[in-house]
Subunit: 216 residues, 2 copies
């Protein structure tokens, strides 16, 4: 009774955990973060007790479901900031972040709303905002980013990117790429550009972004 | 029994009809067009029989709920097309259409999906697409609109505009104005512009747009 038996429950537990995470990601992406825990359990084909054993709270589930995306998000801003050309670095961040979000709209919602109490999301967003603020300041100094760009414009772009729907995942990414290309050209400093309408404070972006809403 | 009595039912009927339309607009805007008819009746505070007496089908309700916006949409494209400067006319169309849709996201969904069987929506969209196609062609000929603009880019913008959420109706319109300003600058022909990633075919826009997806 001490041989291979203990392994099976551990493997089952791992399977269940992955099934729950897969179900949570699919539901969050399709229906947003308001999906009830019982719905996640149902989709994953596990009982509520199993779900709560792995993820005692919705917060824990949300944090774990988006851990990979948060990691990818940090890697993107690190790569952008490391570029010696700040404008090229900022373009890379816009393109790659739009694509990341196009692949998972649930993540956009989690990222923009900083689902209450999920420290990982709040930290990931604060990290991104701080890094992009520095990059944007340097791109303005280099004369490549328009001087009236504010960080809320990036929130605007993420929200807008979330609104784009295509029939397939590949179409979604293609549409988002086209959109990011247009956004980059709108942000690029150009002597022919007229002044923009005033920047909008986007409440759902929360104080973390508002506090550093200007890159001046 | 022949005096004022007949008036009361007629006035009640008018009230009920307006209540149903108000409830339908609010629900379509918040939750999309999938809202069941019984939910519209409940929100309006009328019985299903009353609802179906005024609007025998969901199609009839959708058509009537968005009649004002469709009218406004036609007026906007007519005004844009009448401008002797096609680029200025196109900018007006983009700004005003974004604002119209920012005020009612349910209309964007209805407009983009052309809710099946609602001839008014399909006609309104076809009218808009045809008018904007002509305007865009003239703006390209005048050298003001970038040559790689396609009509699907306008669908992309409407979808993106729908993704923008602010805490208040006024904030929503302000954010949408900023967004339209950015979009216009992205669309404006500029010798410094790099080529865009390929245009995406947006399936939910349906064949009416796809058929005239190019303005060349």
């Amino acid at each position: 009774m001490t041989g291979p038996l203990p392994r099976k429950p551990r493997s089952d537990a791992r399977d269940n955990r992955e099934r729950v995470l897969g179900a949570a990601r699919a539901l969050f992406s399709a229906d947003g973060l308001d999906v009830p825990m019982r719905e996640v359990a149902r989709r994953a084909g596990v009982g509520p007790a199993t779900l709560y054993r792995h993820f005692p709270t919705k917060r824990a589930l949300v944090a774990e479901a988006f851990a990979d995306q948060l990691h990818a998000c940090r890697a993107i801003v690190d790569e952008g900031c490391a570029d010696p050309d700040p404008w090229r670095g900022l373009c890379l961040v816009i393109e790659r972040i739009c694509e990341l979000h196009a692949r998972d709209r649930g993540f956009t919602e989690a990222f923009l709303s900083a689902y209450p109490g999920v420290a990982e999301l709040a930290e990931g967003r604060a990290y991104t905002v701080k890094a992009v603020a520095g990059l944007a300041r340097r791109a303005k100094e280099a004369g490549r980013l328009r001087s009236d760009f504010v960080l809320d414009d990036l929130i605007l772009v993420l929200m807008a990117n979330k609104g784009i729907h295509a029939a397939s995942a590949a179409g979604q990414v293609a549409a988002s790429r086209r959109f990011a290309g247009l956004v980059i050209q709108a942000f690029e400093a150009c002597p022919r550009h007229a002044p923009l309408p005033p920047a909008a404070r986007l409440a759902s972006a929360g104080p973390a972004v508002g506090e550093t809403g200007s890159t001046d």
